[in-house]
Amino acid sequence: MKTDMIRRFISENCSADDYLFRISETDSHETRFAQNGITQHLAGPKVSIDLTVTFGKKSGTASVNQADEASLKQLIATAEDIARLAPEDPEYMPSTPGAELPEVHNCADSTMNLKPEEMVAIVQKSIDKAKALGATVSGMCEKHISSSFEIAKNGFWGEDKRSTFGHSMTLKLGEVETKVSYEAKDFAPFKLDHEFDRLASQAEALADMHSFDPQKIAVILRPAALQELLWYMFWMMNRRQSDEGFTPFTDQLGKSFFGEKFSLFSTLKNPQIISPSFTSEGLPTAEYSWVENGVLKNMPTDRYWASKQSADPISPYNMYIPGGDATEEEMMKMVPRGLIINRFWYIRPVDMKRGELTGMTRDGVLYFEDGKIKHAVNNLRFNEIPHEMTRRILALGAEELASPYGIVPTTLIDDFNFVDKTSF
């Protein structure tokens, strides 16, 4: 894309007192397969040019997806028209000045170089392996290469480039359904044989299904499950929402509000996860400690609210939860009985003020007793409060890559609150 031309055109033609614009482009190739055949297969670039302009304290935003001169003229005119008609915003913040950004590496050559033919070969091999088991497989093989630029009148200039590769597989073998997925910025470590062996092993463990009633019981949450739950909690940790009384974190900053075994960070230091060098507000990213040994250290805070509270404006960009050294086998011996959860599904807030969430288990639940897996059980519904749940952490396993944006450990938690069950 003609980034320099766009940047020059907007800088030369925008008459507003202040502006911030972002140019982003993602080139994707996505192969979706289901029941041993390809059902969707798509490719192409997506472009977005977003411009926010301000006159005094009156702002307007417009977005187009074409970079010709007529479209850019229209973009500027629309944003400026909106700004002129808008009322003054009492919470307006001027754009940010230039800043030194941390050095990050979010783009992997192996992902950039991956060809559609290779992706289809991965899909073909996944299907062949499923057929060999007498099963069907459904999933998605995808790669995305993105670049974005964020530029402000007051001097901020940031560039971000990232890659992601994903391959997921849901196996259906008789009544058993289970899933594995690999999602990372780097394609190179992906090994289909390893992923499929994991999938087949999960399916085998789930073959003997028993009915299980909802109850409070110890759970071993595998990384994908823990991460899904905690992103929702992260979303509720907004500083302003808490200060205004809408969340459970009101007046808890600096206090021991979580379990002492629990810490939560955003980090630039782990090369496995994507770490942007700047935020959408035009600020450099840094190491952020949200929870340390149970103490609530920081909450996501936008620039306006940070200025009112004399706090630093910070926002989460990835999730890093330090693990421990317990293995699943050791965890199973720490409690008399419990469940191993692969994933959750359809998590939704139930009560914002209490931080309560609901959701279902998915893709396999295993019952263990006396340190050994006994059999699989039906899926269950939970109503649970994640920050309270962290106070019931009994052990942490080794941290693992759960997604391109998260490294979290397998975790043993006592008295997880299941409230209902389903028929499968």
Binding site: A34, N36, A43, D81, E91, V350, T422, S423
Partner: protein
């Protein structure tokens, strides 16, 4: 437009068995006001074309935002190459397309006043006034107004000879008041979920009165009692609550792609499998669900779907029995249907269309029955308005729903407001427990503008509707 013919001729000359092109310009204006601060006033234009090629039992889809002969022909070639690549995998699993005829037609959402013609300042002034009205109530800590105005200008052509010109619009206002008191925080929302109408709808809503009502109800709700332990009770559900319940428990399970397992890896499967067609008791005898992509003001009423199949009206559940699915040209053939119900829709030009829920509604009761009479006939229950928490398993069996406003019913009377009410049920228990539906005078539509599905994820829109209905013997209680 010359690009339509250019693309279709190129696809045919490459050897496509079928191809279509969708040139689509989507314009959204989103205005978001919070506590008198204009957090967003944004116009977004997404313009380009997507080309589908069907070859040897497989799809290829490519898209571009560049309008030139060269870019268009390259996109056709890319779609063709991708289809051929897909076909190497689909040798034993070839897709087939249900027969369809060609159409030369146009469709335009009937609107009286184009929302995009209303000056922004007029909209923001009105929204500010609504915000001020809510904030004037002591105890209201947060007032929000979210307004979406949307239009799609689409040109569609296929190698069947179809040529369509579709202009679609909808508008969606949502107002929320949040009260904080006694260590709790509760919100109340006015939300009818959007309609395919013009600004005249906004003018007719009397949003200032609505703002007063929801601010008062937020204050009532924050101080209301909780229901206590879960037990079996009756539920009376308002249309603006029942819309989401039917969306999740009837709409998604009867999407044919999900039934076929095409969503197994992401959105999930369906318990309503094909052997159940025409014999499975999904609901009680008074439960009749109609798929209707001809519904006036319906969010899925576009004249034609993105397969070029016209909007239709059909029973999905008839007298309580599973009757038919919502289908597309490629899913229909998998269960031996030789026609599509026209449910293939894409969100933006760069999305490959997928099987979506149509406008889907519960027919009203055939006997005269008012909501007041229904409440008077209920001994022990809860009356729920508005949507709240919602979650359902990936086979669409077990679900838990909250709501936005609740009244306890005792001996035929609304005796006290409640908060934090949840009900748990499952298919087919829930719809079989429906024993009364108010008559057509009380039927109301409810729009869904954010139905997420598919990989890559897309957001679709559809309208549901019902009259207030009663469900017996449902597990209802307070949250944890």
């Amino acid at each position: 437009m010359k690009y339509l013919d250019l693309a279709m001729n190129a696809a045919e000359s490459l050897g496509a068995e079928y191809a279509d092109i969708r040139i689509q310009k989507t314009t959204d204006q989103v205005i978001y006001l919070r506590n008198l601060s204009l957090k967003s006033a944004k116009t977004i234009v997404v313009d380009g074309y997507g080309i589908r090629v069907f070859k040897d039992g497989a799809w290829g889809f490519a898209h571009s935002n560049i309008y030139s002969d060269e870019a268009l022909l390259a996109t056709v070639q890319k779609a063709f190459d991708i289809a051929k690549l897909s076909a190497t995998v689909n040798k034993d699993k070839k897709l087939r397309l249900a027969p369809e005829r060609s159409y030369i037609a146009s469709y335009k959402t009937p609107i009286q006043i184009d929302p995009f013609e209303i000056p922004l300042s007029e909209k923001v002034d009105m929204m500010m006034e609504v915000n001020r009205t809510m904030l004037a109530f002591e105890g209201i800590r947060q007032a929000m107004f979210y307004l979406i105005q949307h239009k799609d200008e689409k040109l569609f052509a296929s190698t069947l000879g179809t040529r369509l010109d579709i202009n679609y619009q909808f508008i969606d206002p949502m107002i929320t008041a949040t009260a904080v008191a006694d260590g709790d925080s509760q919100s109340r929302t006015f939300d009818e979920g959007g309609r395919a109408v013009g600004w005249e709808w906004i003018q007719s809503l009397d949003l200032i009165e609505k703002a007063k009502q929801i601010a008062e109800e937020a204050l009532i709700k924050v101080k209301a009692d909780t229901l206590g332990p879960e037990k079996r009770r009756s539920l009376i559900l308002d249309p603006n609550h029942l819309g989401l319940t039917m969306h999740e428990s009837v709409g998604h399970p009867t999407e044919l792609d999900r039934v076929l397992g095409w969503e197994a890896d992401f959105a999930g499967l369906s318990f309503a499998t094909p052997e159940k067609l025409k014999n499975y008791r999904y609901g009680s005898e008074i439960v009749n669900f109609v798929g209707d992509n001809t519904l006036a003001e319906g969010l899925a009423t576009l004249g034609f779907d993105d397969d070029g199949v016209p909007g239709q009206k059909w029973h999905i559940i008839k007298d309580g029995i599973l009757n038919e699915y919502g289908s597309t040209r490629d899913t229909a053939m998998e269960i031996g249907l030789n026609y599509s119900r026209g449910c293939n829709r894409a969100t933006y030009y760069y999305d490959q269309p997928i099987n979506r829920i149509p406008n889907l509604y519960l027919l009203p009761g055939t006997k005269s029955l008012t909501p007041a009479e229904l409440i008077a006939d209920t001994e022990d229950g809860v009356y729920i308005q508005g949507r709240g928490s919602f979650s359902i398993d990936q086979h669409r069996v077990n679900f838990q729903f909250g709501g936005d406003f609740f009244w306890e019913i005792k001996n035929g009377k609304l005796i006290r407001p409640l908060k934090k009410v949840l009900y748990k049920s499952c298919n087919p228990e829930f719809w079989n427990s429906c024993d009364a539906i108010c008559d057509e005078r009380f039927w109301r539509p409810f729009g869904v503008v954010n139905c997420g599905k598919g990989q890559p994820s897309q957001t679709a829109r559809m309208t549901h509707g019902s009259a207030p209905a009663r469900f017996r013997n449902i597990r209802v209680g307070g949250s944890q």
